[in-house]
């Protein structure tokens, strides 16, 4: 039991120096992945996703080994990549209808390309000749063009701001309790739904889940919530669970009434 929770032996010294990248400098796991992909120095459409997944996982492992606090989303991505890696390495079984490792890899490559394209677009946009900096309007306008019929002006933004402030002002008297660092059942359910949604085969998902998604502080709540959520999902037929014996690994797979994309979207929307 305890073995699982033991952190990988801390190998300080040599490795610590290598980790020069400041995790806080990244805007999320995709940003980090893009950075790592660029270090492969090839066109994004020709990157090795397997190598990328390994690099990312190694990066996360090192960050953890020197006890850098990692935000949950970095760990979610690590779990997903570990799963992707296993799909890429193990030949696909004939009856397996889920997306192949290659399909998952190309989806990831697409996302990296798209993010990079948007980054470039942002740069090109901001470097255009801009009004008020490079291009100027009439400095001494002589009239205001009456665009509006009403004689009054207000933007939707003004309106919404006024409303939000008003409603918030009223609510200010409410007591708020300090936020606790917990995985809610809804969080756990959503994470499970995302990860199991596409699995046709038995997978010991708790490995990925526990290994990558939790910081030591969060482990108790993560286990409690995800286990409770998984039981609930089994009851609903969303999931199937198999365990060979007491303390054996727990295998999960898609249930007879799996969570489809629409339901997932709904859950995400509800989660905000």
């Amino acid at each position: 039991m305890d073995a699982l929770w033991q952190d990988a032996p801390v190998d300080r010294g040599a490795h610590e120096e290598e980790l020069v990248v400041d995790i806080a400098g990244f805007e999320g796991p995709l940003d980090l992945l893009l950075h790592l992909a660029r270090s492969q120095r090839v066109d994004l459409s020709r990157i090795s996703v397997l190598a990328l997944a390994e690099q990312y996982i190694a990066f996360i492992e090192r960050a953890r080994s020197i006890r850098i606090e990692l935000a949950a989303d970095y760990l979610v991505m690590a779990a997903w990549l570990a799963y992707l890696k296993s799909r890429l390495l193990i030949p696909q079984q004939a009856k397996d209808e889920g997306p192949s490792g290659e399909e998952m890899a190309s989806a990831l490559a697409f996302r990296l390309k798209r993010l990079e394209a948007m980054r470039d677009a942002a740069t090109r946009l901001v470097n255009r000749s801009r009004l008020g900096r490079d291009i100027f309007a009439r400095g001494a306008p002589e009239h205001i063009v009456p665009e509006k019929k009403s004689g009054y002006d207000a933007s939707l933004y003004d309106l919404l701001t006024a409303y939000a402030l008003l409603r918030q002002r009223q609510a200010i008297t409410q007591v708020t309790i300090e936020k606790r660092h917990v995985w809610s059942l809804a969080d756990a359910r959503l994470i499970l739904a995302r990860m199991v949604g596409t699995l046709d085969d038995w997978t010991a998902l708790d490995h990925f889940l526990i290994r990558y998604m939790t910081s030591p502080k969060e482990r108790a709540t993560a286990i409690a919530s995800s286990f409770a959520a998984s039981l609930e999902m089994v009851r609903e037929g969303r999931l199937e669970i198999r365990q060979e014996g007491a303390f054996a690994p727990i295998y999960l797979r898609r249930g007879p009434r799996p969570i489809d994309a629409a339901m997932l979207a709904e859950m995400e929307a509800a989660r905000g």
Binding site: M1, L4, E27, G28, L30, D31, D73, V76, M77, A79, G98, P99, E103, M104, A107, R111, K113, R114, A117, R119, A121, A122, L125, V126, R128, S129, R130, L131, R133, I135, F136, A137, R138, P141, H143, I144, V145, L156, Y157, K179, R180, S184, A186, D187, M195, G197, A204, D206, H207, A220, T221, I223, F227, A228, Q243, P249, A265, E268, A269, R271
Partner: protein, 242 residues
């Protein structure tokens, strides 16, 4: 340019080269002067509809604006189109001489700029889609800043379950970045061609997006230590997976 010169005041006009409808050249000249005065006098872009409403009867606003645009194309002040509006702006190549130290331009954070680009290229776009592209949650205040700057607006709602609100850019955005229309965004055609704008990753290839803050939703209670102990009995035994 030839088109422009023809109606330039003070130049002799060749009668035989006029449009089929024999428009009084004086009337056309007058229309040009009016349009010019209207747009020149305003700092904000002026709608073509409004200009049209001020022109002499029987004059088509489109050709008038095209001629004016051509006349001013080579000058220090250009007539530019912003969506269906018109404005006079200093020529971009004169930026070095018109610039002063006082001009203050809003500095956007990298994240805000990225969100702005995504909204511009993908509009109408929902917040979930923005987050899907960036792979991170949009921090509070990012959209806020863009809306306050007047570059981004709520457009409407997507006709899908949940009817999520969509975002788009404004005319001020076009004006600020010197764009006539959204299709003028740099590289937008290539991006479209490469499938990077419309291409949504198939939903079954979903890559996790962060869950976000660890807040409890309204209908939940925090898990207590006691719950944990209770659940701890059920904790699956796990093995190292590598």
């Amino acid at each position: 340019m030839a088109e422009a010169q023809r109606y330039l005041p003070g130049l002799p006009e060749e009668e035989d080269e006029l449009d089929e409808i024999a428009l009084d050249p004086r009337l056309l000249e007058e229309a040009e002067r009016i349009a010019e005065a209207l747009v020149f006098a305003s700092a904000q872009p002026v709608s073509e509809t409004y200009i049209a409403s001020r022109l002499p009867r029987g004059i088509d606003v489109g050709p008038v604006m095209s001629r004016l645009k051509a006349i001013y194309a080579s000058r220090g002040v250009n007539l530019v189109q912003v969506a269906d509006h018109w404005a006079f702006r200093t020529a971009a190549d004169l930026s070095f001489v018109v610039q002063t130290d006082e001009q203050e331009i809003r500095k956007l954070s990298r994240a805000a700029l990225e969100v702005l680009a995504i909204i511009a290229y993908h509009q109408p776009v929902t917040r979930a889609e923005i987050e899907d592209i960036r792979g991170v949650q949009t921090s509070k205040g990012t959209l806020d800043v863009l809306m306050e700057a007047g570059w981004v607006r709520f457009r409407g709602r997507r006709r899908t379950p949940g009817r999520p609100v969509t975002f788009g850019t404004t005319r001020d955005f076009l004006d600020h970045f010197g764009l006539e229309e959204i299709r003028d965004l740099p590289g937008i055609e290539e991006l479209k061609g490469a499938g990077l704008l419309s291409g949504r990753v198939p939903s079954n290839l979903h890559i996790p997006v962060p869950v976000g803050e660890d807040e409890l939703s309204e209908n939940e209670d925090p898990i207590t230590q006691m719950d944990l102990e209770e659940l701890g009995l059920l904790t699956p035994k796990a093995e190292e997976d590598d």
